[in-house]
Symmetry: C2
Subunit: 431 residues, 2 copies
Amino acid sequence: MGNDTVKIGLLGLGTVGGGVAEILAGNGDEIKKRLGHRLQLAGALVRDIGKQRDGSIDKDILTTEPSDILENPDIDIVVEVMGSIETAYEYIIRAFKNKKSVVTANKDLVAAHGKELFEAAEKANVDLFFEGSVAGGIPIIRPLKECLSGNRIQEVMGIINGTTNYILTKMTYEGREFQQALDEAQKRGYAEADPTADVEGHDAARKIAILASIAFNSRVAYDDVYMEGITKINSHDIQYARELGCVVKLLGIAKETDGEVEVRVHPCLISKEHPLASVKDEYNAIFVKGDAVGKTMFYGKGAGGFPTASAVVGDIISAARNLSLGTTGRIGCTCYDNKRIRGIQEVATKYYLRLNVKDRPGVLASIAGVFGNSNVSLESVIQKRMKGEMAEIVLVTHEVQESNLRDALSIIEGLSVVGDVGNVIRVEGSD
Amino acid sequence: MGNDTVKIGLLGLGTVGGGVAEILAGNGDEIKKRLGHRLQLAGALVRDIGKQRDGSIDKDILTTEPSDILENPDIDIVVEVMGSIETAYEYIIRAFKNKKSVVTANKDLVAAHGKELFEAAEKANVDLFFEGSVAGGIPIIRPLKECLSGNRIQEVMGIINGTTNYILTKMTYEGREFQQALDEAQKRGYAEADPTADVEGHDAARKIAILASIAFNSRVAYDDVYMEGITKINSHDIQYARELGCVVKLLGIAKETDGEVEVRVHPCLISKEHPLASVKDEYNAIFVKGDAVGKTMFYGKGAGGFPTASAVVGDIISAARNLSLGTTGRIGCTCYDNKRIRGIQEVATKYYLRLNVKDRPGVLASIAGVFGNSNVSLESVIQKRMKGEMAEIVLVTHEVQESNLRDALSIIEGLSVVGDVGNVIRVEGSD
């Protein structure tokens, strides 16, 4: 690095990379006053140099050759915003070997190879920052790792997928069914043509795995996360949730109890009084409970070029500060524990159950009897008359272990008076 | 500092100091794993050594002699949680002279002497951290200074006084009048016997001055803040706010426009859809708008021993990390600009106006005429019949400069059909 200038190499110049370039250009003078050094965009790896781009980007810094960034001795900090897993991993390892600090916004990569990346960064004594990889622009990684580092974190619970929150907001406030809301989300660019990763919870699972790893100081991988998506939620569930004083949200949830960790992504009913309940549209929020701080929440845009670039530039400034002070590698991997991950069968929550039953006397009694025998106690019951001789019953249980609930449900599904189980949704955030 | 241990000296062992001691004792092993060093409480300045205290505190470390902490070569970090301004200032300056980093949770001190303290810390090349001085446990100083440091911050708007938020919550959701709600707050320990500093906005003003200084990189002092309290808010205002789709909150507001800063504390109507609207009881939240990140919000407990101690311990850990790496003084004072502060007359907002008028034809027309002549345009009007021949009219203006509104109001107060102006409340957060 020069006396006055820290040189940045971008891997990727898409939505986020373009946002980073634009912030460095537009807010460069302010950043120099804050940091004491100018951040100069000195190279950008792209697929196609000839592609039409924003006029503020100097064509001379574009390259299709990774080594122009990774092995360039002039470049101090490499910013990986290209996406993908294996290629990005290879490039970052090469950057570390060349003693470059790295900033990434790639959650798939951090969720898949976080451990190896942190070890490699530590070995090279450089920084690896990844604030942009979870919840876009919302400051959450640094607050967890630094501001709340005096706490034992007990719970992290977040709306960490904007697509599904947009869909559920449309279903809740505009009466849409799932498919209609998904169509709208796709039209507005909030959902991909193939929406699987969002609506089935895979994206949220990668994020909650990263958050859980930091919160509980123990590696949690994507494969450790129990997942259910929102495709089965319908307007009946939304309406019953409202009657119960709740809204339906897709949450990433991680809790530590007795030294063990549970981590899951699924739709939830949460009370309208809970701070997460009012997080609407494509916004994200992460609710954190610590033993000293109590309940906190971090809210903002969880995706998009500029919000994510905001997090990336914050990380670049931190990395540049460490470079200039000669103290890269200040905070390495914080996963010093190896806590057991609980299976979903061991998890205890409240449940919302929607059952289609024959509308005749004694049905509720026989269902309640099965629950009683399985140690599932009921908190509330809503009964709705439906077409023909079928009725819809909604039950909310007290807290019960999942295995007990499943046992009870398998018996109930076999009852002659029960048509089918319409939906089972966990209820969270009531404490 | 020893090889393995960083020694902490507390100035004050009240609610926050006691919380810090308890966290260091209870979470000491976890903190050691995160930091690499044990944080040892090595001294605590108290008024009365004989006072009954929590059993976990070693009596041998208590002292009534400031120099046992400030001039003690064994102590690495001084934690000022004693309150007061001048004595705390003197002690911190002495700590700096002895090359000790300082953590403080004293907003009065930071608001009054922030500039001198940062200069002294910079000169001594030690750290001064103050996360606990604003909004208790909520991470906000570090997110602003680091995570969002790529942004130009445009607006900071916060519920930063728990007492008034508790009172307004009781008025909004339980139909209390101000005095009843204040009585309850006092009974529950949320309000002081003399509630002036809270209900008149002085406490919030000190906090928004600190936040504005950081957000806009320009010193904003307590005296720069325009203040109005909540004592004039009554149940009519709460009810009309509801009809307008709003709630009433006491907000600290700081905005930068065209290189100039406005900073104020007063009650506001904000839309129920705004993220701040659902912040209830004694909780605090700070809404931040940046040019890259967009809208973000930070929520949690803004006061209390453990939440504030959470922030203090986070700062101690950062200071200890810097000590161990030999990089104290990484981020000094960030007030490198000197932006003009706008007077309240120059500020433009929407206004809610409640007027008591004679209930006769043409009244509204004559009032509307005055507003029209003063370039105040109206967004909505609610009219309520009242006792006798008086009626209550509620108007909401479009955005208008305060000086224009005041001109119009002084004419309206002189109209023979107008009894008096019941209340004037600004409307915020509608963009």
